[in-house]
């Protein structure tokens, strides 16, 4: 009981005991005032409760919208990575089939007596003659090398045909992204993450997979990451490979390397340079671009 209510009760008691009309009037007036005060307080509390309920509703709606937006962003990243990987895999399969077809064609052409003889001489040179060259007299060595060079020139067009499988196929252009990120999102970087649009099997099952377009993309961009780490003075950073949504991802731990390089700028520049350095991509009809993402968008469990 509050002190005011207690005083009021006391006053009513005294008035009842005194049984005096003025005292009762005074007590009733005080009770009415107290009731009015309590009612005002109650009304204020009701208003506050209503306002708080509305505020809570607004916050819950805001939280639901934020969570939905975050989930949508994760799903977009996952779907984008998987779609790029699948596009590249399809293109790699197409080129591998072409490679097989061209190998069979070249093997058939090499059955021509002159070419067959040249190829056998090249084989003999590589397996038997070359190791003995330093022991041979100069003139003899020169004659063998000249013959070998003639054979190589004769076979060069066929070697070239096998080396440039994509060229001339006029394949429609497909774009695939190399995703890079650093954690934490700001401040001194502790980890650099790069996700490649190739299946994780390129890393984990290399002994049983053929070396295809996806494999060579991985080689070139694994090299790019090591170049980047070297630029950042972090060539000794431990690197791990892992599966992200079925794509090959690599993570370099740079926390102990005191990296001062702007990893975002440097990564995108290196990716761009690698994408422009080889004609293999344009031959294969693949355009490669770099994307920098906030690290939380690559956290698989958050989706």
């Amino acid at each position: 009981m509050s002190p005011e209510t207690s005083a009021l009760v006391d006053a009513l008691h005294r008035a009842a005991l005194a049984d005096s009309e003025p005292a009762l009037d005074e007590a009733l007036t005080r009770v009415e005032a107290a009731q009015a005060h309590a009612q005002a307080e109650l009304d204020a509390l009701r208003e506050r409760m209503t306002a708080l309920a509305e505020r809570r509703k607004a916050l819950e709606a805001q939280r639901a919208a934020g969570s939905s937006a975050s989930r949508s962003a994760h799903e977009a990243v996952r779907d984008g990575l998987c779609a790029d990987r699948d596009r590249l895999v399809r293109r790699a399969e197409r080129l591998l089939a072409e490679q097989r077809r061209r190998e069979a064609e070249v093997a058939e052409e090499l059955r021509a007596p002159e070419l067959d003889a040249a190829l056998r001489e090249v084989e003999r040179f590589q397996t038997e003659i070359e190791p003995t060259l330093p022991t041979l007299p100069h003139a003899y060595r020169r004659a063998i090398l000249d013959a070998h060079e003639r054979n190589q020139r004769l076979l060069e067009p066929y070697a070239q045909a096998l080396a440039t499988v994509g060229a001339g196929l006029d394949l429609p252009m497909e774009s695939v992204g190399i995703v890079a990120s650093a954690a934490p999102a700001s401040g001194r970087p502790e980890a650099l993450v790069v996700v490649l649009p190739v299946p994780f099997a390129v890393y984990a099952e290399w002994t049983t997979r053929p070396e295809d377009l996806a494999t060579r993309l991985a080689y070139r961009f694994v090299s790019t990451v090591h170049r980047l780490l070297a630029d950042a003075g972090a060539s000794d950073a431990p690197v791990e490979y892992f599966d992200l949504y079925g794509c090959l991802a690599m993570q370099a731990w740079v926390a102990e390397q005191n990296v001062t390089l702007d990893l975002r700028e440097a990564s995108l520049a290196r990716i761009r340079a690698t994408a422009e350095a080889s004609s293999e991509w344009s031959d294969a009809g693949v355009a490669i671009y770099g994307v920098w993402l906030a690290p939380d968008l690559l956290s698989e469990g958050a989706a």
Partner: protein, 176 residues
């Protein structure tokens, strides 16, 4: 001149080696080949490699062949004893400072099945405290615990303990 028809594999004569082929030759992962050639700035733009690249990878990656065909015992116990002898001679530096070597060096030169057996045996040696595992930029490294070197040497000639270790290594693979 031979009259045997050429098969498609002879087309390999027309080109240099791929990264995969060098990796198989050196018994390392292709990404190790790429890393070594990148850091020595010798990775060719066309990703085609020759024997100089092979030497470069071997040197940069500190690759060692611990086994060659002639000295690989058939018996698992003798193979393990051979590994212990190599560990003692190759990982003990004259200064007494323990030397770290790539874990795959311990197995290079063996057939895949025997590599798998020896890998499990090495895990046993780590569990028993004879070896330490270290992370290195090129992967997992192994070093000898010098304070246990004498006991490890004794283990190599103790048939009963060696046999026990072989059984444990097989048990790890669910073979016994």
């Amino acid at each position: 001149m031979s009259t045997t028809p050429l098969d498609v594999s002879n087309l390999a004569l027309l080109r240099k080696m791929s990264v995969d082929e060098v990796a198989r030759w050196l018994e390392v992962h292709p990404f190790d080949v790429v890393r070594s050639l990148t850091l020595t700035r010798t990775l060719p733009a066309d990703l085609r490699l020759d024997t100089q690249h092979v030497d470069r990878v071997r040197d940069h990656g500190a690759l060692e062949v611990w086994w060659d065909g002639a000295d690989i015992p058939e018996d698992d116990g003798k193979l393990l004893a051979g590994l212990i002898a190599r560990l003692l001679t190759r990982l003990t530096a004259p200064s007494g400072t323990p030397r770290v070597t790539r874990a795959d060096n311990l197995l290079r030169g063996l057939e895949p099945e025997r590599q798998a057996f020896l890998r499990r045996a090495v895990n046993q040696l780590v569990r028993l405290g004879y070896l330490d595992i270290r992370g290195t930029p090129s992967g997992i490294g192994v070093t000898l615990r010098q304070d246990h070197a004498a006991d490890l040497g004794a283990l190599a000639v103790d048939f009963a303990r060696l046999h026990q270790l072989v059984l444990r290594a097989h048990a790890d693979a669910g073979l016994t």
